[in-house]
């Protein structure tokens, strides 16, 4: 029997061990005594089964920077990280600001077949922040775009932001904002604080993020639109989000794995592998972000996986491009920062890395509870054991891995996409 699998002994979201029968792209049945003849057995004793992870924020670099990543290599990295769907950001070259480009990315994702690649459309033409891109055409295209973002750049013009928020209501879209008041971050290199003062690197003040989040939540509240806040990085942003959500406004927010673990102290090495936008913040910010993810003020984790070619990182700090890899290490970092600390249980992890991002992105086949009849998108994760991160072993084309040499817990053993394994025994299939 082809494409029939029985996963045995898995603990669904940390519950009691059970077996899952996967057939025809769906979870056909679940039960501890299930053992159909002819099905390929995937032993999962001691492993945690979670719905396939969904990333709202991935840079796949294709078209334009295929030397740093392609849809195919990024998809491999995603599968190895336990993801079954990723949202490919629009800041490619050419920019994903037309139906043509988003359909190209969408098709490349289907051809790779390792995870569902859902393109994000640019809010403005060329990410220039001047004129709305044809959002409706992208929504109506084969790529069915629902998330729009100028990520990498902030939609700075408040009037344009308001119109974008309003316009996408027609097709239940959401604007994902990269919150950065750029007049406050000219030449900025790292978090503004004690470290930037000492290192002589121009500071990126927390207020530059918080000012835009405050403005945009007010706008979203005013016009009744959906706003998603990308990569929240400061304690002050959390306070504003808590206040805005308290009003009942339709606001969601994400935090990256790196902002849950790493701090601005790492900049003292001047190694640009730690340069990222928004920058790594202080230990206090990290604590507040973890708490906010636990209590739901921050809705989900998104990787902001940002591959860069070696020559864009083997430079002076100020000359380097910002961004770091994240797909393959996300679940381990969340285990380290949220599960092992007791802040989240596995159901909470499933919520914040799968169900909520799938709902925000409007992906019907992802982020479902693992139950009979649902699409068979799932990941098997071994939470026991730790291993040292080796960037050379990454499926990504790039090596800008900020966790290099770091000991992290857990390992993705298998990933199933629509009933077929994309990863088995920690190795990409096909």
């Amino acid at each position: 029997m082809r494409d029939v699998f029985v996963v045995t002994g898995a603990r669904i979201e940390g519950g009691d061990p059970t077996n899952l029968l996967l057939r025809d792209g769906r979870i056909a049945d679940i039960g501890p005594t299930l053992h159909p003849a002819g099905a390929e057995v995937v032993p999962a004793d001691g492993l945690i089964a979670l719905p396939g992870l969904v990333d709202l924020h991935t840079h796949l670099r294709e078209p334009g920077r295929e030397d740093a990543e392609t849809v195919e290599t990024g998809s491999r990295a995603a599968a190895l990280g336990g993801f079954t769907a990723v949202h490919a950001m629009a800041n490619t070259d050419p920019v994903a600001d037309t139906a043509g480009v988003v359909e190209q990315v969408w098709r490349l994702g289907r051809e790779a077949g390792l995870c569902d690649v859902q393109p994000v459309g640019a809010v403005t033409v060329g990410l220039r922040g001047e004129q709305l891109a044809e959002l409706g055409a992208m929504a109506d295209s084969a790529a069915r775009v629902r998330v729009f973002s100028d990520d990498g750049k902030c939609v700075g013009d408040p009037a344009l932001m308001r119109r974008a928020l309003e316009y996408v209501k027609a097709f239940d879209g959401v604007i994902a904002q990269h919150a950065e008041e750029t007049r406050l971050t000219e030449d900025a290199q790292m978090n503004e604080g004690i470290l930037s003062a000492r290192l002589g690197l121009t500071g990126w003040p927390a207020a530059a993020e918080e000012a835009i989040i405050a403005r945009d939540t007010l706008l979203a509240g005013h016009v009744g639109s959906r706003l998603h806040v990308c990569h929240v990085s400061t304690a002050g942003s959390v306070e504003i989000l808590r206040w805005a959500k308290g009003k009942g406004w339709r606001i969601t927010a994400e935090v990256t794995p790196h902002h849950l673990l790493l701090t601005d102290e790492l900049a003292a090495s001047y190694d640009p592998v730690y340069k990222v936008n928004p920058p790594l913040r202080t230990g206090e910010d990290v604590e507040v972000l973890r708490g906010a993810l636990a209590d739901g003020t921050i809705d989900c984790v998104a990787t902001d996986h940002a591959p860069h070619a070696l020559e864009d990182k083997e430079t002076e700090w100020a000359a380097a491009r910002p961004g770091m890899l994240g797909l393959e290490t996300a679940l381990s970092v969340v285990t380290e920062t949220m599960v092992d600390t007791g802040l989240l249980d596995w159901a909470g992890v499933a919520q914040r890395l799968s169900r909520v991002p799938a709902r925000i992105g409007g992906l019907a086949a992802h982020g479902r509870h693992l139950a009979a009849g649902e699409a068979a998108n799932l990941v098997l994760f071994d939470p026991a054991g730790r291993s040292v991160v080796d960037p050379a072993r990454s499926a990504s084309r790039s090596r800008n891995n900020p966790y290099a040499g770091r000991d992290l817990p857990g390992r993705v053993v298998a990933t199933f996409l629509h009933g077929r394994p994309t990863v088995l025994d920690g190795k990409v299939q096909g």
């Binding site: 083997e314 430079t315 002076e316």
Partner: protein, 332 residues
């Protein structure tokens, strides 16, 4: 000794004092010679790698290396492959292949010397990186103060001006604190970095209030273009509030000295008559710079005990202190 000099924080009190003492010895040894040259670094190669124009710092390092008989190569970014897009890493590998023992680097980006140190085997000396540090400037300033006043411990030094963008200020705060000096920084609040509260220094916005207790006042260069970025309203207002003129000089104790790392904006942060008065050490700072840089190159390249040179490793052990080891009989 340490292998690189990237930050004034690399120096503890003992090693900083060793550098200052060695500079004194260099100075004395040369004073008695007709040919102003010591054979100490003969056969060693020092590269001046300047990505930013700075005639005075480059010349000072060049003279220091030449007085120690080292071979000196000036590698400036302009007119070289660097201006054609060659990366810092490629430049580093090129210098490495040519066999340089020390690279003196000036760069407009903070941390560039740290990056370079990761790519080459020789010593790296930071000759000013962006808005980060300029440790040999701090050493020559400490040397100048010690010469004029006879000590450092317990002195009060006031540093005035664009602290936010100043590598001189960062290195001086670290080094002078290490050497037991009380440092006070004075500037308009816009030109003090957020996070300065962690520095081992006092901060004041009122120059007149701190002058009467100062043993030395160090004026920093203020670039006029800061005005257009709203750091202060006008040159004249800056000068009135933070410039050192004759009236302010009169508020300082009689023995207190006036310093400036150069180049000066006369009439902006310092009045011409103050710059040229007998209490000004500005010209001395320049000549002391050569002695201090000789000491740094000597200790990094020749006098260090733990340094493993891939070329000839001098067998002298320990931190250098005796004149015998410092200045072997001249060979020519």
């Amino acid at each position: 000794m340490i292998r690189h000099l990237l930050s004034a924080a690399d120096l503890d009190r003992e090693s900083a004092t060793t550098i200052l003492d060695t500079a004194e010895q260099m100075d004395r040894a040369l004073a008695g010679r007709e040919v102003k040259k010591l054979p100490t670094l003969r056969g060693r190669t020092v590269v001046n790698l300047f990505f930013e124009d700075s005639t005075r710092t480059r010349t000072s390092f060049e003279l220091a290396a030449k007085r120690l008989s080292a071979d000196v190569i000036n590698f400036s970014a302009k007119g070289s492959s660097v201006s054609k897009g060659e990366s810092l890493k490629d430049t580093a590998l090129t210098l490495e292949a040519m066999g340089s023992d020390a690279v003196v680097i000036r760069h407009s980006m903070s941390g560039a010397p740290h990056r370079l140190a990761g790519w080459i085997r020789g010593s790296v000396v930071n000759a000013g990186d962006g808005t980060h540090e300029h440790p040999t400037q701090a050493l020559l300033d400490a040397f100048t103060i010690r010469r004029r006043t006879g000590r450092l411990e317990g002195l009060r030094v006031v540093i005035v001006g664009d602290v936010l963008h100043s590598r001189v200020a960062r290195s001086n705060v670290l080094l002078l604190h290490t050497l037991g000096v009380e440092v006070t920084l004075v500037a308009p609040p816009t030109l003090l970095p957020v996070g300065i509260e962690a520095w081992p220094a006092e901060v004041s916005y009122d120059l007149d209030a701190v002058l009467p207790k100062a043993d030395a006042v160090m004026m920093l260069r203020v670039q006029r273009e800061r005005m257009s970025a709203s750091f202060f309203p006008t040159q004249r207002e800056y000068s009135r509030r933070y410039g050192l003129d004759r009236q302010r000089l009169a508020r300082m104790p009689e023995q207190a000295i006036v310093m400036h790392p150069g180049p000066m904006n006369r009439g902006m942060e310092i009045a011409a008559e103050v710059a040229d008065c007998v209490r000004s050490t500005i010209v001395e700072q320049v000549s002391n710079g050569v002695s201090v840089r000789m000491a740094v190159l000597y200790l990094l390249l020749g006098g260090g005990s733990r340094r493993e040179s891939r070329r000839r490793t001098p067998s002298r052990g320990g931190v250098m202190s005796s004149d015998d080891a410092l200045f072997p009989a001249e060979e020519s």
